[in-house]
């Protein structure tokens, strides 16, 4: 083994890489040196080259995927061009984005064991490692489950465990938390932190979640269009708000608060940690008491929506998957009014997707009743309900098959039996509502992932349903992509559609929804106005959720009169600036 003690963990020098049959390089002149034991997070918009960078780390590029490569690429002192992937696997574990594609055995235990078996780890040691890692990723109770029967989040954690079992020197994770609940995501980052500290494991993660990057990384690398555009300690990188805004990388809410308040606070360095920002603001607020109650009482009466008035009505709905003994939904009662914009949050496996599949008729309740616009849907076929209620599924690629965007959008409308004129109208409306006008003639799979998601929304909108359900519209989407989708939902809501949105993105929920339903295991824990729900910190923690960062910051300042139900950066800054103006 050519390993020497002096080499870095990762050493890319002037690396340029072009995929086979492509003209434009996916990585341009990238130089990135990572020392052993560093914890590095890569952020950047979709298409920036994050996945490509990750696939270099164990030689999948160029050994498996081919392509043209220039420059130096050495991992643990091994030249990736000269070593096979299994050689690299002794040093580097890699976790890919799509968890399903990397699970291929019959049960959780053998999935985790696979890599250790390939490396010839002795059986006793293997059992120890498997027990440890399944505990770490909260999958201990699922050892005998086939991976196919796990929820999206559980699959993602299993994929991580399957790689960690190799106890590699370097672990590379490509968006490992895109389907995880907030606390689940935090746990992944934090477990990797522990491994990094205890085993001196070098960690490289690509993510859209800037909050966690800020909280856990030693170093943050910002990629855009295949180039590194910023790099350094997280506080330095995230302080470059103008740059990050320009390339659509999310700035942590607390950093943005400091940046917005820079002249008032007289600061040039911005913090990335909640407690630091909180301390700064506390110092500033000391002796002051913000009086805001009158203002919000007024606002409250005008803004708080009336809770549901029976457009979608669930009465004591219980659901059990065939062949199981556990209720996936337990006595769920719920009422959503016409024109509402409702968010549903909850830990992985809480039953959110099961709930909406019952509402839409893909699953039929074991007991209880569901009424849509006063009509019992127990006998209705999904195909017939599509005109009333549409569901946008998580994976856009499971439905695209036409040769152009326009035809794809028309498919549902034609199935609804609309006349030719109506179809044309609906297609035009749906394409305009999702901002896909310029891609009308394009082949769907030539669109970016974000645009394919928009297309899957358009494909449902064209059937002209009154109610639209979005199941995790943010999965795998960058900051810009998720806001664009949420904007589409908001626009449709403003045009009278009822919107139900399931997501793990608390910032999005805070910004877009007025009413929030929190699900715990198989039941509804709380249902109310979004700002009030986020006050129930303990209850949320029960279902692995924490309020958005900005709300947490506001809550830490409640003693000084800052309202704890703040949901947006601007809101808090407005209050603070007003106070400073006094």
């Amino acid at each position: 083994m050519p390993e020497t003690e002096t080499h870095n963990a990762i050493e890319l020098v002037n690396l340029t890489y072009t995929y086979p049959e492509q003209d434009q390089p996916a990585l341009k002149d990238v130089t990135l040196v990572i020392e052993k034991g560093e914890y590095v997070v890569v952020v950047g918009p979709n298409g920036a080259g994050k996945t490509t960078l990750c696939l270099h780390m164990n030689g999948v590029i160029p050994n498996v995927l081919g392509g043209r490569i220039k420059g130096k690429s050495e991992i643990m002192g091994l030249n990736t061009r000269r070593h096979h992937v299994y050689d690299m696997a002794l040093h580097v574990g890699i976790v890919l984005q799509d968890p399903e594609a990397q699970l291929f055995t019959s049960d959780v235990r053998s999935e985790v064991a696979f890599a250790a078996e390939n490396l010839g780890v002795p059986r006793e040691e293997m059992i120890k490692r498997i027990d440890w890692i399944l505990d770490v990723v909260r999958l201990k109770d699922f050892v005998d489950r086939p991976p196919a029967q796990l929820s999206g989040g559980q699959k993602q954690r299993l994929a991580i465990a399957s790689s960690l079992v190799m106890q590699p020197n370097i672990i590379v994770l490509d968006e490992p938390t895109s389907q995880l609940d907030p606390i689940g995501s935090q746990e992944v980052f934090s477990v990797l932190r522990d491994l990094n500290k205890e085993l001196d494991m070098t960690v490289l993660i690509s993510t859209h979640k800037s909050d966690y990057a800020a909280k856990f990384a030693d170093r943050v690398v910002v990629l855009n269009e295949g180039k590194i555009v910023a790099e350094g300690p997280p506080e330095n990188v995230f302080s470059q708000v103008d740059l990050l805004d320009k390339i659509n990388v999310q700035v942590p809410a607390i950093t943005r608060v400091e940046w917005e308040m820079k002249s008032e606070l007289g600061i040039t360095d911005f913090s990335i940690h909640l407690d630091e920002t909180s301390a700064k603001l506390k110092k500033f607020l000391k002796g002051k008491n913000i009086v805001w109650e009158t203002l919000t009482d007024q606002e409250k009466t005008s803004e708080t929506p009336a809770l549901g008035e029976g457009y979608v009505e669930l009465d004591q709905v219980t659901f059990q998957y065939p062949g199981t003994k556990v209720n996936a939904l337990q006595d769920v009662s719920l009422s959503v009014g016409k024109g509402e914009f409702v968010g549903i949050i909850g830990q992985n496996g809480a039953g959110k997707t099961t709930l909406v599949k019952n509402i839409i008729g893909l699953l039929k309740p074991t007991s209880g009743k569901i009424l849509i616009d006063g009509k019992d849907i127990s006998e209705e076929l999904v195909e017939e309900m599509a005109q009333t209620i549409g569901l946008v599924l998580q994976n856009p690629d499971a439905q695209l098959f036409e040769m152009s965007v326009e035809e794809e959008v028309a498919f549902g409308a034609i199935n609804m039996g609309f006349s030719e004129v109506e179809v044309a109208e609906q297609v035009e409306y749906a394409i305009a509502a999702t901002g896909l006008e310029e891609f009308k003639e394009n082949y769907p799979f030539n669109l970016s992932f974000g645009d394919r998601r928009k297309l899957s929304v358009a494909a449902v909108v064209s059937m002209n349903p009154d109610i639209l359900i979005f199941d995790e519209p943010t999965t795998g989407q960058d900051y810009k992509g998720r806001r664009e989708l949420a904007d589409i939902a908001r626009n449709l809501n403003e045009r009278g559609r009822t919107i139900i949105m399931i997501t793990h993105d608390m910032d999005l929920i805070a910004e877009y929804t007025r009413r929030l339903i929190v699900m715990g295991t198989s039941r509804i824990l709380v249902d109310g106005p979004t700002e009030e729900v986020f006050q129930q910190v303990d209850l949320l923690a029960e279902t692995f959720i924490e309020p958005p960062q900005i709300t947490q910051l506001a809550q830490s300042l409640e003693k000084y009169g800052v309202p704890g139900e703040i949901l947006a950066v601007e809101e808090l800054c407005q209050i603070l600036k007003k106070e400073m103006g006094k």
Binding site: Y86, L96, A101, S106, L381, D397
Partner: protein, 275 residues
């Protein structure tokens, strides 16, 4: 495909080592192949059904098996009834279009059908009570190369995987008002299948590509001696089961030689074969 998928249960059959189960099936197959004696073959069949019972293998599967074998069996009886060449005495039951239907031929066809059933009913004893991973470990214990075993294991996974992807796609298209069950054959062919099979094909292509990366990334093919999580050492119960099956098989072989192997016509119905 439920005939070939593992069903998780805790029974003495599930607890047996896969190697033991392979040994059992081996013995039962040898007996069923070698002997054409109806009593012997029925004994194998009854033995299999008893193991099904102990292993709580759902009898609904037996029905599927019986259905398949019944079709093949009827075909065999008809074909052998008409085309079997008598070597000794024979009984004509009836004639059709100048061709005689012989009792002995029909009985020979029936024997073949029972043989088929005895052989086929042994398969679920292994496949439906053994998860894929211990099965693979057992194959490895037999010194088969791991690459071969892995292909086998992955193929076992492929059926449910394709099914999963297909279900997801069908769900997505139903949500767009696409209902293939309500289409006539012509419409199914022209309009029904495309929205299901194009995404299926594309999804599987993408998935296999990703899977390739994932498999390699997890050190598949590393130049070290592979270890196994599954413990495939034999326990007391395994020896016990093997002895029982071996004794049973040997007994049946002796019975065949005593009563007649069923060579020529069918030993069991030729009194001359019994000394």
């Amino acid at each position: 495909m439920s005939l070939l998928t593992f069903i998780k249960k805790d029974t003495p059959v599930h607890r047996l080592n896969p190697l033991t189960k392979m040994f059992m099936i081996g013995i039962l197959w040898i007996v069923a192949f070698v002997s054409a004696n109806m009593i012997v073959m029925l004994a194998v069949l009854v033995f299999n059904i008893i193991i099904w019972f102990i292993g709580k293998i759902p009898f609904s599967n037996l029905k599927i098996l019986l259905g398949v074998v019944a079709i093949v069996g009827i075909l065999m009886i008809v074909i052998q009834g008409f085309f079997w060449h008598p070597t000794g005495e024979y009984t004509t039951l009836f004639s059709l279009l100048g061709k005689d239907f012989l009792l002995e031929g029909a009985l020979f066809g029936l024997t073949l059908a029972v043989k088929l059933l005895a052989i086929a009913s042994a398969i679920p004893i292994l496949v439906m009570t053994t998860p894929v991973s211990p099965f693979m470990a057992a194959l490895a214990a037999l010194k088969l190369p791991f690459k071969f075993i892995f292909v086998f294991g992955t193929a076992m996974r492929l059926v449910p995987l394709v099914q999963e992807v297909f279900d997801e796609i069908r769900e997505a298209q139903r949500l767009r008002g696409h209902n293939i069950t309500r289409m006539n054959l012509w419409k199914k062919i022209t309009k029904g299948y495309l929205p299901l099979f194009i995404p299926l094909l594309l999804s599987l292509l993408r998935k296999t590509n990703d899977m390739d990366i994932a498999i390699e990334s997890r050190a598949f093919g590393a130049p070290v001696k592979r270890s196994y999580l599954e413990d495939v050492s034999l326990k007391g119960r395994d020896y016990f089961a093997m002895i029982v099956v071996f004794a049973f098989g040997a007994g049946l072989m002796w019975l065949s030689s005593y009563m007649g192997w069923g060579a020529g016509v069918t030993g069991w119905m030729a009194p001359a074969a019994v000394p």
